[in-house]
């Protein structure tokens, strides 16, 4: 696989961006097809690359493009690093993006901003691919900022809708806070190591593991650096405290939500942690923080998703919760399990969002209270949505079950501080996952139709451009788990992803083996696996009981009995209100102060200068009265003064 093809992977979406951005006006619908073809090209390169990495002979390599800046100490080149982790990321990013592009052909048909939409999609994927491919932190940062920008553009795509521009701004600003952490971490690393090349950083980290160099194990420096980088990840991957932007991000068109939640953007944080895993394991304190924050995020977001009325909001909080699972795995040192959940999650979450988009497209409603009984109108959407729900809920043998169970077991067996507590939280969250996902499914597709009569009349199955991606993604949601079966079935071929990532995660594993006491017990692992299967089924049963069997009285009674919990969930733990009141309020006060300062001090100085000039000129103007005789008088006086001075000082 040569460098040219690697460059094509991000270059094709960039071409889609340029073609649609510059010539979209004349291309129309053809521009969309060009974008789909470009994305398909990227996927066509990535799939064989992944197959070779997985089963064929593959050695990681670098592609150096050009020197970006060189200034004494700083020497940054633009280059790509292709290793096993990159191959895995490229596979799902390009494949899921391709599905979303194809789907958008149907979903966005007839939209006035059709080509603008596709150009932004292209730029979005270009940024994400640069992020994944970058061989040094600055290159990763270009992609990091790029996805932030594109999320802003796409969330605010419906710019004439009331909430959309605000949601876009919120995403951008909240991400900015995280980016600040990324920058700080990056600069600290540069100050200490004099390089930003990821491989060199990992090399330095390996020395640090042996107690040599600035990155000594457990040192204050490495802790601060990793915490700063993790702050960046909380922004991009929507963890507490910066998760509030993601649920609002559904103001954008639904394919964008699918792209943000599944393929691009939110997985960037997990990717960064895994990519820098050799560094992160050197700071046990940071790992504990990551695990704690992740468990809290998973729990909070999962509990919120239980009561949301908007189908997209349910899915958005579900993403936040699942991201919590991924970070939880990273926090206990199971980076492979974390990235594998990223991988499987991208399939079923993309499927769920595209299914929701299909429903919105058909029924023009997204409030669960107004949906229901849609299965007979749109069977393909219903079945794929059901499969994806089963997968995310963790019904046995589906992809979500395999990856989530791996995480649960890793947490249980890690021996990390507080791992029992983390495990209990994770299990409760897994139960909630099953409940909220099937609540969404039942209330949308089963039971009695609650659509208004004319909307029900228009409900129909979506065109093939939308159903084909759904079917393919649902297929992925079923079988993706086969790439990495649980370790209890042997460490051979079926441990694919874990074996694949072994070279990348080796530095982290060595440190973990030296310091942690992992538990090995096949029988316990099987028992816990059975437990998570039972939990998933129990969750589905609960959802069935309260959204179908006893609807709506049972649900209402439940809400009344647990009134406080219901309110906490419904009002999203008041996170947004808290930020609005105290963080945004503080900024507001600061802005007012700045306005005051601007008006009275800065403007005062300016007006003062202008006033003085005006006053002075009025005085001087009086001399210039046009009377030749007056000029003569002044001239004579002036000449006398000059001559007098000359004589005086002689």
């Amino acid at each position: 696989m040569n460098g040219f093809l690697i460059v094509l992977i991000p270059a094709l979406p960039l071409a889609a961006f340029l073609i649609n951005g510059l010539f979209g006006r004349w291309l129309g619908r053809l521009g969309g097809w060009i974008a789909v073809a470009c994305m398909g090209g990227s996927a066509a390169i990535s799939i064989p690359l992944f197959i070779r990495a997985m089963w064929g002979g593959f050695t990681p390599f670098n592609v150096t493009l050009w020197r970006w800046m060189s200034n004494g100490a700083i020497d940054i080149t633009i280059g790509f690093r292709v290793d096993q982790l990159t191959c895995l990321m490229l596979l799902y990013v390009t494949c899921v993006s391709f599905m979303v592009f194809l789907y958008s052909m149907g979903y966005m048909a007839g939209d006035p901003g059709f080509n603008r939409f596709f150009s932004f999609l292209g730029l979005f994927d270009f940024s994400m691919l640069v992020l994944v491919l970058g061989d040094s932190l600055p290159v990763v940062f270009i992609g990091w900022e790029g996805v932030g920008l594109c999320s802003y553009l796409l969330i605010g795509y419906y710019m004439d809708l009331p909430g959309a521009p605000d949601a876009g701004k919120k995403a951008f600003i909240v991400n900015r806070i995280g980016d600040f952490g990324f920058l700080v971490g990056m600069m600290m690393l540069f100050a200490a190591l004099g390089t930003l090349d990821i491989q060199k950083i990992i090399l330095a980290a390996e020395q640090g593991a042996a107690g040599v160099g600035p990155l000594a194990y457990g040192g204050a420096f490495v802790t601060v650096v990793t915490l700063a980088l993790f702050l960046g990840c909380t922004g991009k991957s929507a963890q507490i405290p910066l998760f509030t932007w993601l649920p609002d991000a559904m103001a954008g068109p639904t394919p964008v939500s699918a792209l943000i939640h599944a393929a691009t953007m939110v997985t960037a944080g997990v990717y960064l942690v895994v990519r820098m895993s050799g560094l992160f394991v050197l700071a046990p304190a940071t790992m504990t923080v990551i695990a704690g924050v992740a468990a809290a995020t998973a729990f909070v977001a999962g509990s919120i998703a239980l009561t949301q009325q908007d189908i997209k909001k349910v899915l958005a909080y579900s993403t936040v919760s699942q991201l919590g699972f991924m970070f939880l795995a990273c926090g206990v040192g199971a980076f492979g399990a974390g990235i594998f959940h990223v991988f499987t999650h991208s399939f079923f979450k993309a499927c769920l969002f595209l299914g929701a988009g299909s429903v919105i497209h058909a029924a023009h409603a997204q409030d669960l209270d107004h949906l229901g009984g849609l299965r007979k109108y749109m069977p393909v959407t219903a079945w794929t949505f059901c499969i994806a729900c089963a997968s995310i809920a963790g019904l046995p043998l589906l992809a979500g079950f395999v990856s989530k169970d791996e995480i649960l077991w890793s947490v249980f067996a890690s021996g990390a501080p507080g791992s029992m507590l983390l495990w209990i939280i994770a299990v409760i969250t897994a139960l909630m996952t099953a409940v909220y996902s099937f609540r969404a499914y039942f209330m949308t597709f089963e039971g009695t139709g609650r659509l208004s009569h004319d909307k029900q009349h228009h409900a129909h199955e979506s065109p093939w451009t939308m159903t084909v991606p759904l079917v393919l993604l649902a297929f992925g949601a079923i079988v993706a788990g086969a790439l990495n079966l649980p370790g209890v079935f042997g460490e051979g071929t079926w441990r694919g992803v874990n074996n694949l990532l072994e070279p990348v995660l080796e530095p982290a594993r060595k440190v973990a083996e030296a310091h942690a006491h992992e538990m090995h017990s096949p029988s316990l692992e099987l028992a816990l696996m059975a437990l998570s299967g039972v939990i998933a089924i129990a969750g589905v049963a609960l959802a069935y009981r309260y959204t179908l069997a006893k609807w709506p009285e049972g649900a209402r009674r439940l809400a009344k009995r647990f009134r406080l919990l219901y309110k906490i969930s419904l009002y999203r733990w008041w996170w947004d209100d808290f930020y609005m009141k105290y963080v945004a309020g503080g900024t507001w006060g600061l802005a007012k102060l700045a306005t005051w300062f601007d008006r009275w001090v800065i403007d005062g100085i300016m007006h003062g200068i202008a006033g003085a000039a005006s006053l002075g000129s009025r005085f001087i103007r009086a001399l210039q009265n046009g009377q030749a005789q007056a000029y003569v008088l002044i001239f004579l006086l002036g000449a006398n003064i000059v001559i007098g001075l000359i004589i005086w000082f002689k």
Partner: protein, 101 residues
């Protein structure tokens, strides 16, 4: 040796002062014009007096230049005044304030 100021120079200064004061006080443009001529001639008197008392002929040469220029300037100035009078029927210096605008 102390230099004695020639009496002619004192006369020249007095004529110059008369001219300068006249320029500022008189309203009639023609009179002001005559005052300017007065100042020219005061300067010329100064040149000649100093040329004589210091024994330097350059002063006489400068006097010749000045009187020539003064003659030319008198012709141009009178022509201007006649044109201005044609235009506005008076040549009071105070009314000629076009420079202000």
């Amino acid at each position: 040796m102390e230099y004695m100021i020639p009496g002619n120079l004192v006369v020249a200064v007095m004529i110059f002062a008369i001219g300068a004061i006249g320029i500022m006080w008189r309203r009639d443009a023609i009179t002001i014009f005559m005052c300017i001529e007065l100042m020219f001639n005061a300067a010329n008197l100064g040149f000649i007096t100093l040329a004589q008392s210091l024994g330097k002929p350059e002063g006489v040469a400068v006097f010749l230049f000045v009187i020539t220029i003064a003659a030319a300037e008198a012709a141009v100035g009178l022509a201007l005044f006649i044109k201005i009078f044609d235009d506005r029927e008076n040549i009071e210096a105070e009314k000629l304030d076009l420079l202000k605008r």
